[in-house]
């Protein structure tokens, strides 16, 4: 991350309104709350995601990061509030949302090659077998594979590929339907550093070049720090929204967690120390 970018401060903690030339927000979350019996995950959450905006969602385990994505996917009912995609309430199975799941290794012996995994993104949800449009589907799949640089291993059984290679294919799978919004649920966890950066770069390039909005859930902001426009930080039923420089500060996070939290910058990396339940080894690793 360049020093000049580090120096830029945003317009302050809070909502960036979408009345500019950037147009109407792709995603609009209004006063959303989610609670499981007593436990409030988040409350009064409002968020407008503009076209081409990259929002990184941070927070401890169990702070409701994944649940937020599930709510946007229409798989999780909100306790109150509403979520709209392009002006309409979200529904299950919307083709305009791409989804990259947490990296979970696909076992050996799974009858699926890289190409097949990507093809699910085209028409895996449709009934029947693929009859019409085979050539068009093949071309789209090949283009998506090419765009993530996976052509060399796309015909190997997925179960024999490394975690990083599988995750590249998953990125292609999410992008092949040309989504306006890309939801990434900790896609980097358990990848080695090299692959973390390469998958993060794929997503941020898509964001920049195609104007695809991104909601990127992660434990560790560092791989996506340079492309993050805003951070949504969830903690203990509260949340903060703002630029990385506004949010990732000792005083701001200490107030959010209501306990002393130290944010340090080591080289060009951000390290958060002392956040409750934040047993994330990535933050403590010595890097290069």
């Amino acid at each position: 991350m360049a020093a000049s970018e580090l120096g830029q401060f945003g317009s302050g903690v809070g909502q960036v309104t979408g009345d500019s030339a950037a147009g109407t927000p792709v995603l609009r979350v209004r006063q959303a709350a989610l609670a499981f019996s007593e436990r409030v995950l988040w409350d009064g959450l409002s968020l407008d995601v503009l076209p081409g905006e990259f929002i990184t969602v941070l927070g401890a385990n169990g702070s409701g990061k994944s649940s937020l994505l599930k709510a946007i996917l229409g798989m999780q009912q909100l306790t109150s509030g509403d979520i709209q995609l392009c002006g309409h309430p979200v529904r299950k199975g919307d083709r305009r949302i791409g989804y990259i799941p947490q990296q979970r290794l696909i076992p050996r012996g799974t009858p699926m090659r890289g190409r097949d995994l990507v093809s699910f993104g085209v028409d895996g949800h449709r009934w029947g077998v693929r009859i019409a449009g085979r050539a068009a589907a093949r071309a789209r799949i090949a283009a998506a594979i090419e765009s993530v640089g996976a052509s060399s291993f796309a015909d190997k059984p997925v179960g024999l590929l490394s975690g990083g290679e599988q995750q590249r294919l998953r990125t292609a799978q999410a992008l092949v339907s040309d989504p306006v919004l890309l939801l990434c649920d900790e896609p980097l966890s358990s990848l080695d550093l090299h692959y973390q950066q390469s998958v993060a770069n794929l997503v941020s390039r898509r964001c920049r070049e195609h104007g695809t909005s991104v909601l990127f859930v992660t434990h560790d902001i560092n791989p996506v720090l340079s492309c993050t426009d805003r951070v949504l930080y969830l903690a203990a039923g509260r949340h903060l929204l703002g630029t990385p420089n506004d949010i990732l500060r000792s005083d701001v996070l200490s107030q959010l967690y209501q306990t002393p939290v130290e944010v340090a910058r080591v080289g060009d990396r951000v390290v958060v120390v002392g956040a409750p339940e934040h047993h994330e080894p990535h933050h403590l690793e010595v890097r290069q």
Binding site: M75, Y99, T110, D116, L117, H125, W127, L160, E165, R170
Partner: protein, 293 residues
């Protein structure tokens, strides 16, 4: 024949006297075997991916109970076995979404089904071969309209599989993303269970309740050893299924033994060959360099 008066034991296992005439008698059984081979092989691929081999066994025991009840009541054995199968697959589908719940449900259902079946058979006073047939197979003794039913049920399940092909494949191979992409996972898995129930009820008629896995799991397991393509694996599994079912009937025809040992042996040999081929190709793939990271 030279050895006719000696009547050695192997003529009971393999005997091709009067083969042409016998073949004419079983042509519809062969047709049923072809269709069951195809659908059993294909559905087996999903059974493997969804980790449901145990469920297949559980369903087949309840299918056996249903068939035995029908036998006792003088009803259609095919209908009884189908009813038992559907009840079991519905119960497993509804009660056990997670693998652990499912296995305990099956573990509870299976002995109950088998016990019921044995009770009904004990009460039944008809031909003993009908009793034995339900456990170890009897296709050649199934005839006429009953056989028509078997063929119909098999064809219907094949049709259902084709209708739900893509979402079922998606849900079986990549469930998290499938759910996120709006695949109706509950509908798909229940439809799959019912289809599986239908296939199992037919397989029970042909190889018997105890040996259903030879037609529903082994062909797919063999195919998975030699290919990773979601097109080639079901196609190969269907081929292996037909080989076992039809080959079993053809070999069993002249002998005096039940059909199932022939089917299970062919099935098992296919698996051994595929394992050998698979490990050899994996070794050569490995020497050309594993996937770099």
């Amino acid at each position: 024949m030279i050895l006719l008066d000696a009547d050695p034991w192997w003529t009971r296992i393999l005997n091709f006297d009067d083969y042409g005439r016998l073949l004419g008698l079983v042509q519809y059984s062969l047709l049923a075997a072809v269709i069951l081979g195809v659908v059993g092989g294909v559905i087996g691929v999903f059974v493997m991916q969804r980790d449901m081999a145990f469920a297949v066994h559980g369903i087949s025991e309840l299918s056996f109970a249903g068939a035995a009840a029908a036998l006792l009541a003088g009803g259609s054995v095919v209908a009884g076995s189908l009813a038992g199968s559907l009840v079991a697959s519905l119960a497993i589908g509804l009660l056990g979404a997670k693998a652990r719940d499912r296995n305990s449900t099956i573990g509870v259902l299976m002995p109950f089904g088998l016990g019921l079946g044995i009770l009904f058979l004990a009460l039944y006073e008809g031909r003993a071969s009908s009793k034995f047939g339900l456990l170890v197979g009897q296709i050649i003794s199934v005839d006429g309209p009953q056989l028509g039913w078997l063929i119909g049920v098999c064809t219907l399940s094949l049709g259902l599989l084709l209708v739900m092909w893509r979402p079922l494949m998606f849900d079986s191979l990549d469930p998290d993303v499938a759910a996120a992409r709006g695949v109706p996972d509950k509908v798909v898995s229940l439809a799959f269970m019912l289809t599986l129930g239908m296939v199992v009820s037919v397989a029970v008629q042909i190889v018997g309740a105890l040996l259903v896995l030879a037609l529903v799991v082994t062909p797919a397991a063999s195919a998975l050893r030699v290919s990773s393509s979601p097109v080639v694996v079901p196609a190969l599994a269907a081929g292996f299924g037909v080989l076992a079912a039809v080959g079993g009937i053809l070999l069993a025809l002249g002998g005096a033994l039940p059909i199932s040992p022939y089917i299970t042996t062919i099935s098992f040999l296919t698996y051994l060959v595929c394992r050998g081929v698979g490990s050899r190709s994996r070794v050569s793939a490995g020497s050309s360099g594993p996937v770099a990271s």
